[in-house]
């Protein structure tokens, strides 16, 4: 009955036009922030919210909006995972889910330092940086995801980037200490 309704059909058509564009970016978004199982769950949740709140999706900024939903759903999933004491398994926000095969020592070490530096940012700072570098959003799009004003997003992103650079700069091993630094790596 509902399917005969022109409104319902029109709604389906709108979702069918919108959703396929969202799926791959959302999958990548989630793959960057959690384990594959949780990513799958949260993808389903996110699409469900998009479907139910289709009228709220801003036509010109659907993807940032959907990222915001996914971020919210992921936070919820992680909260309930924490409640069940599965912190370590499910709340991998920084570690890459698939570790690349060992490359040249130099590169590997640099990647590790970058991961460590990211981990030293606050959650919000790291998220701002990820949205900028990985999702490649503009500050105003990031504002949409994070529920900030564009101005605040811009300022906070700038600060987060500077902080990250500063950490990387300070951590850079001084010449001649290369070996001792390598030795620290577990």
């Amino acid at each position: 009955m509902a399917d005969d309704d022109p409104g319902a059909a029109e709604r389906r058509a709108r979702f069918e036009a919108l959703a396929p564009e969202l799926v791959e970016p959302l999958r990548r978004f989630l793959a960057r922030r959690t384990d594959p199982v949780t990513a799958d769950d949260v993808l389903g949740e996110t699409l469900l919210v998009c479907w139910r709140r289709l009228d709220d999706v801003p036509p010109d900024a659907a993807l940032p909006w959907a990222y915001g939903v996914a971020r919210h759903c992921l936070a919820n999933a992680q909260r309930s995972a924490r409640r069940q004491g599965r912190v370590a398994a499910r709340v991998a926000t920084v570690d890459p889910p698939t570790q690349s095969s060992p490359g040249p020592g130099e590169t590997q070490h640099g990647e590790e330092r970058l991961h460590e530096a990211l981990a030293r940012l606050t959650d919000t700072e790291a998220e701002l940086v990820r949205l900028w570098a990985w999702e490649q959003l503009t500050p105003s799009e990031i504002a949409g995801v994070m529920d900030l004003t564009p101005n605040a997003a811009s300022i906070r992103l700038h600060r987060a980037r500077e902080k990250l650079k500063e950490i990387l700069r300070k951590d850079r091993p001084a010449a001649g200490h290369e070996e001792s630094t390598e030795g620290r790596t577990p």
Binding site: A2, R52, A75, G110, D123, L168, R169
Partner: protein, 227 residues
């Protein structure tokens, strides 16, 4: 290091860089499943669903009769908490109250979602009163929301509309396992399903005041909380 260099270095460690695209069939199925779920959440506040959507959600759609049998039985056993709640002095101090946590409410910019915490009514013997809008309107918290998870001691709902009470991003109903059994039975919380829930003195109302979303219950809520 400038921003471009930083971005380049970060992109080199993008965990999703080697993510293969999803199987198109699987995506199609996922989208189809998504569109086949209840549409009741489409409502903007004030325009709850179209008649067509409501009729689809009316009654026993997609639910086994057993669910309703269990729910009905449990209402008889547990629903009575509300009677004692509505009929007795709300100040009685043995009531395990869990007031809506104003402290955990909206905090823009915070990463933790705001939560309203509710308790379950104590299982007790008594009778249910007929749900009326008048009685319902005394509830301090009333919202519609979808059950996100049912776990030991906690039912988490994602509210989509608050009829009354301070809006939060999540609502958690906490209860001892015994209370939860009674409550889950009475209200029959199921993951992914949408409910209308009200609470008095931090305790979820049963006895037909809270339950799966239905046109009748929704009408009751709309009547109890106009505007």
């Amino acid at each position: 290091m400038n921003d471009d260099e930083l971005q380049q270095r970060l992109r080199a460690i993008d965990p999703a860089s080697d993510l293969t695209p999803a199987d198109p069939d699987r995506v199609a199925r996922l989208l189809e499943d998504t569109m086949n779920t209840d549409l009741t959440d489409t409502s903007a506040p004030g325009t709850p669903g179209t008649p067509e959507q409501e009729s689809r959600n009316d009654g026993t759609r997609n639910r086994s009769p057993l669910t309703w049998l269990v729910a009905a039985a449990a209402v008889l056993i547990a629903g009575v908490g509300v009677f004692s709640l509505l009929g007795n002095d709300p100040e009685r101090d043995d009531a395990p109250t869990a007031a809506p946590s104003a402290s955990a409410s909206v905090d823009p910019g915070s990463t933790a979602p705001s939560v309203t915490e509710l308790g379950a009514p104590p299982p007790a013997a008594g009778r249910c009163m007929v749900p009326t809008a008048e009685a319902l309107s005394t509830a301090q918290v009333a919202f519609s929301g979808t059950v996100q998870s049912v776990e030991a001691g906690v039912v988490t709902l994602v509210p989509d509309r608050f009829y009354t009470g301070e809006a939060t991003e999540l609502v958690e109903v906490r209860a001892t396992p015994d209370e939860l059994t009674a409550l889950v039975g009475a209200v029959s919380f199921e993951e992914g399903r949408r409910y209308l829930v009200s609470a008095t003195d931090g305790q979820v109302t049963v006895c037909g005041f809270s339950g799966p979303l239905s046109p009748n219950l929704e009408a009751l809520y709309v009547e109890a909380f106009p505007g």
